[in-house]
């Protein structure tokens, strides 16, 4: 299981990245994350929605209600241009962190600590 802090920190980039593949509703996002992380990243489902609302408030995503044939309603979220820019930003940061960790963990790589 992932650390709580990691879950919290990765929520936004994950949501933004998933939405850049197309619009999704909340349940769908959670399922995607579970699949992508092999169930490692467990979200308390209901807690996603406040995050989505806040991102919508920050204009990173936008939402629309869709009524299905069976009469059920779903709220779909899609990424905005501002969200895309934000995603690129976080992407750089995550890659950077990832690269650093990879380098550190590569065998035979010695750090010149002074």
């Amino acid at each position: 299981m992932a650390y709580k802090t990691l879950v919290a920190a990765s929520t936004k980039p994950l949501v933004l990245s998933i939405l850049s593949h197309g619009k999704c509703y909340g349940y769908q996002i959670i399922k995607h994350v579970q699949e992508l992380t092999n169930g490692e990243l467990q979200w308390t489902d209901a807690m996603l929605y406040p995050v989505l609302h806040r991102m919508e408030g920050d204009a990173l995503v936008q939402s629309e209600w869709v009524i299905l044939e069976n009469g059920r309603k779903r709220k779909y979220y899609s990424i905005t241009d501002k969200g895309k820019a934000e995603r690129e930003d976080t992407k750089k940061q995550w890659i950077n962190v990832n690269r650093a960790l990879q380098l550190l963990w590569k065998s035979g790589n010695e750090l010149q600590l002074g």
Binding site: Y25, G26, Y27, T44, D45, A46, M47, Y49, P50, V51, H53, R54, G57, R72, K73, R74, K75
Partner: protein, 901 residues
């Protein structure tokens, strides 16, 4: 078990979300859609619908409140907690509470006014009394090391001590750090630049005075101020009067004709000291001062003990000390063979005692040069203040409680709108505390306004600073908070408990403990009021009785000249001049005079030397009898032949009773081994306060007109009488003004430049009761206040009682009750309360007043009327107040009341 219904369960779950303030409809639908997706997944996995629902809810939906909090936080950045999680703090609600309280106060203007005024008036009276008490308790405490300064008492209660005592004690006891002797107060003629002033309150003091009593020197050197004879230290006010701001130090003034140097100027003594000096003279350097003796008793001796010395330890050494030093002189003087014989005969077991200086004013007023304190008064007024406070507080609480009964509906609505109990309690408490704080402000205002007149009443001076002393204000504030909280506590706790539905329907009966408590308090209030009225009536009857009691002596139209001593050598001339006017009936010179402090001296039966008692002494000339209208009962008056009569005595009836003789023929009294013939008995007359019985009196013949050496001849026996050696008493008739003008003319002819210092004897007599009269006045004012506050409370309470029974009374009237019957019904209830109050207070009042009266030798008969009338007065006040209000209600048209609901 009923079958699981998925749709219903989802709806129920949704309802739990609806209750949350943080969630909005859109949020809940989104969450619902999420839950449904999850359930669908579980159903696909083959779970039963019940299991699917439960698992979905458990896995994805935490407690509704948590969800709501998250949603709230998503919307509001910065705020720490959503409102439903915030603790409702009292302070955050205070502004609203106060707003409501003020609104409510204005809504019921009359009630609030009565309530605030009642408490305010009571409090202000209390404040003033507290001021008086704390002032009384503060006497002499401001002196540096006041707790180490003691006053020597001769025996237990003799305020004057021998001149040698101080000197010898300082030599013998290392426990004594310093001694100062004080003599006075005296009245002297001060001549400054040829203008004569007659000044009272002069004291002779030792050069060590400033080492005991911390006085501030504005001019001069304290260490040298009283070292030389004929030196005077003036207080600032006197120095300003004489020298108008220019330096007084070194100036020469004449004190009783003797050139005296001003060696210092000191600040005026504060009002709370028993030593009210206006100028301080140094002692003459004669042997009776510098060496002293053990015979005379002129001095007040003060001692400052070394830190840590217990006075009791020192007191134990005094008997031996006195025997060693004073023994031989006293044996010679009093004519005994040995000191033991003297001790046995005089029974003077306690030789000297030490009285703490700070106790003089209240506990030993005779030691306090007439500062007029009384610990009994302090206790009495503490009690009165307490009573007034109690009545005022009871009133306040009563009214607050009564009023709360009208607010049932408000409580109901508040509860429906979501108030919880705690909020209601705080609301009620806020209201009462606010009222009590208003009362506090009113009381401070009233007390400030009444400060001066109260000062006059109490014969003290109070300043605004005394009133607004931080400690006093703080304790007042504390008291008000307590009273406010107590007054609010009952309605707050009781009312907030109601179920809203019942409260709204008006189903609740505010009876039982509520009315019982309130009635109990009213009974108590009536009781205290009746008690105070009883006390006032008794005190006043007693004072009136004393004023009108026949004294056996003529006091009206008798003028005395206090400083007749300045006539020395011209007494005859003055007498003859004065008698020329038809307005002057007679003029008498005497040593001592009635109602002034008189000397006492021990006399014994000649044949029974063991039988002895103290006789009060008067020395009179031949005109004394006519001036004071004193009648002879037996024997003869003096023959006015000095040589024959100077060793003869006239006694009063009390003296005769003590001697146990039928007639004066051959009667003799012994004093210090001399025997004197008793030649006459006069009818008893009062020569002291009516608090004292008429004691045995000895009158001797002396005529300063014929025999100017009389002071020398009798002087030794009268040591201790500080007053001028002799005074003149003049009986006048006709117009006061004419008579006084004539006396003044004669005076200025005989004693040019000397101020004439006269007083009326009946005024002197009345002054003996100054303290009592003052006591009576303060008592009257206090009880009037207490009764007024009670009435105020009663008025408001009646209004409320009637208000709550309007419907009942209307129905009764509709059913045929007459107006009279209705009024009687209400009156009966209050009559019961008054009667109960009277039943409690009358025995208490009787007992307390008997105790007070027992302090007077001549007192009124305690008639039962004195007890019953106050009760009736209160009853009548109650009836008129309640009757008036209930008549208004009873006369009104019942339809108006019944229609309204």
């Amino acid at each position: 078990m009923s079958e699981f219904n998925l749709e219903q369960s989802i709806q129920e779950w949704k309802r739990t979300l609806w209750k949350q303030q943080g969630l909005e409809p859109g949020h809940i639908e989104e969450l619902e859609s999420h839950l449904r997706d999850k359930i669908d997944d579980y159903l696909e996995q083959g779970l039963s619908s019940e299991k699917a629902f439960n698992q979905a809810k458990e896995r994805s939906m935490p407690e509704p409140e948590l969800i709501a909090t998250d949603f709230f936080n998503a919307r509001h950045k910065g705020r720490k907690k959503p409102p439903w999680q915030r603790k409702a703090s009292i302070s955050s609600r205070m502004p609203m509470n106060i707003k409501v309280a003020v609104r409510f106060m204005f809504k019921q203007k009359l009630h609030s006014l009565i309530n605030i005024l009642g408490l305010g008036v009571g409090l202000s009276a209390c404040l003033l009394i507290v001021l008086y008490i704390s002032n009384e308790l503060s006497y002499d405490k401001f002196y540096k090391d006041a707790d180490r300064i003691y006053r020597f008492a001769n025996g237990e209660s003799g305020q004057s001590t021998s001149p040698r005592l101080g000197i010898q004690a300082k030599l013998d006891f290392p426990e004594i750090e310093e001694i100062a002797r004080v003599k006075g107060p005296t009245e002297n003629t001060l001549k400054v630049d040829n203008v004569k002033f007659r000044e009272t309150d002069g004291f002779g003091v030792d050069s060590t005075f400033h080492k005991l009593f911390s006085v501030d020197f504005l001019e001069g050197n304290p260490d040298k101020a009283w070292t030389e004879p004929n030196a005077i230290v003036l207080t600032k006010s006197l120095a300003d009067k004489y020298f108008q701001g220019s330096e007084a130090y070194g100036k020469l003034i004449h004190v009783n004709g003797v050139p005296t140097k001003v060696t210092g100027v000191i600040t005026d003594p504060p009002q709370n000291t028993h030593l009210q000096y206006r100028y301080l003279l140094s002692f003459a350097h004669t042997t009776d001062v510098t060496t002293g003796n053990w015979i005379e008793k002129w001095y007040a001796t003060y001692a400052k003990l070394v830190r840590g010395v217990e006075p009791e330890v020192l007191e134990q050494k005094f008997p031996e000390f006195k025997r060693k030093h004073a023994g031989s002189q006293l044996i010679n003087w009093l004519g005994y063979d040995s000191y033991d014989e003297l001790l046995a005969a005089r029974n003077t077991a306690p030789t000297y005692t030490l009285k703490p200086m700070t106790d003089l004013h209240l506990y030993y007023p005779v030691f306090a040069f007439g500062s007029g304190g009384s610990i009994d008064n302090v206790y009495t007024f503490s009690l009165v203040a307490f009573f007034i406070l109690l009545i005022a507080c009871i009133n306040f609480m009563n009214l607050c409680t009564a009023r709360s009964a009208l607010r049932l509906k408000e409580v109901g609505i508040r509860k429906v709108l979501g108030s919880v109990r705690k909020q209601l309690i705080v609301q009620f408490l806020t209201e009462t505390v606010l009222l009590s704080l208003f009362a506090m402000i009113i009381s401070l205002l009233l007390a400030t306004l009444a400060l001066d007149s109260f000062g006059n009443l109490a014969n003290r001076q109070f300043t605004i600073q005394d009133l607004f002393a931080p400690e006093l204000l703080l304790s007042l504030l504390g008291l008000m908070l307590v009273v406010g909280l107590l007054a609010g506590a009952y309605p707050a706790i009781f009312m907030s408990r109601f179920k809203p539905v019942k409260a709204l329907k008006g189903e609740l009966k505010v009876k039982g403990s509520n009315t019982f408590l309130r009635k109990g308090l009213v009974v108590f209030q009536f009781g205290i009021s009746i008690f105070l009225i009883i006390s006032t009536v008794v005190v006043f009857s007693q004072l009136n009785f004393m004023r009108s009691k026949s004294l056996g002596i003529h006091t009206e139209q008798v003028v005395t000249i206090k400083n007749a001593a300045v006539l020395n050598g011209k007494l005859r001339a003055f007498k003859e001049l004065a008698k020329r006017s038809p307005n002057v009936v007679s003029l008498s010179y005497s040593f001592g005079q009635p109602f002034k402090r008189l000397a006492k001296s021990g006399f014994n039966m000649v044949d029974e030397a063991d039988k002895k008692t103290n006789f009060t002494m008067l020395n009179v000339d031949e005109d004394f009898w006519a001036t004071y209208d004193i009648r002879l009962k037996d024997g003869r008056l003096f023959s006015y032949d000095l040589d024959a009569d100077w060793a003869n005595l006239i006694i009063n009836e009390a003296g005769q009773r003590w001697m146990g003789i039928e007639s004066v023929a051959g009667a003799k009294l012994g004093q210090n081994n001399n025997n004197y013939n008793v030649v006459g008995v006069v009818e008893d007359f009062h020569f002291e306060s009516l608090k004292q019985d008429i004691g045995p009196l000895v009158i001797r013949y002396s005529d300063p007109v014929r025999d100017t050496t009389v002071a020398k001849r009798w002087g030794k026996s009268y040591l201790g009488a500080f007053d001028a050696l002799y005074s003149a008493s003049i009986r006048i008739t006709g117009d006061y003004g004419d008579a006084l003008d004539h006396i003044r003319e004669c005076w200025s002819e005989v004693a040019p430049g000397e101020p004439l210092n006269y007083a009326f004897v009946d005024e002197i007599f009345n002054r003996l009761y100054d303290e009592d009269r003052r006591f009576g006045q303060i008592f009257t004012v206090s009880s009037a206040l207490a009764v007024a506050i009670s009435c105020l409370g009663l008025f408001a309470l009646t209004a409320f009682t009637l208000d709550r029974r309007l419907k009942e009374l209307a129905v009764r009237k509709v059913l045929g009750a007459s107006v009279i019957k209705l009024i009687r019904l209400i009156l009966l209830e209050f009559t019961k309360l008054v009667t109960m109050g009277a039943l409690i207070s009358i025995p208490v009042g009787y007992w307390v007043m008997q105790e007070w009266l027992s302090g007077f030798a001549y007192r009124i008969n305690f008639s039962p009327l004195l007890l019953i009338i106050p009760g009736l007065v209160v009853l009548i006040i109650t009836w008129s107040m309640v009757g008036f209000q209930s008549a208004k209600v009873a006369l009104s048209n019942p339809v108006n009341v019944l229609r309204s609901e």
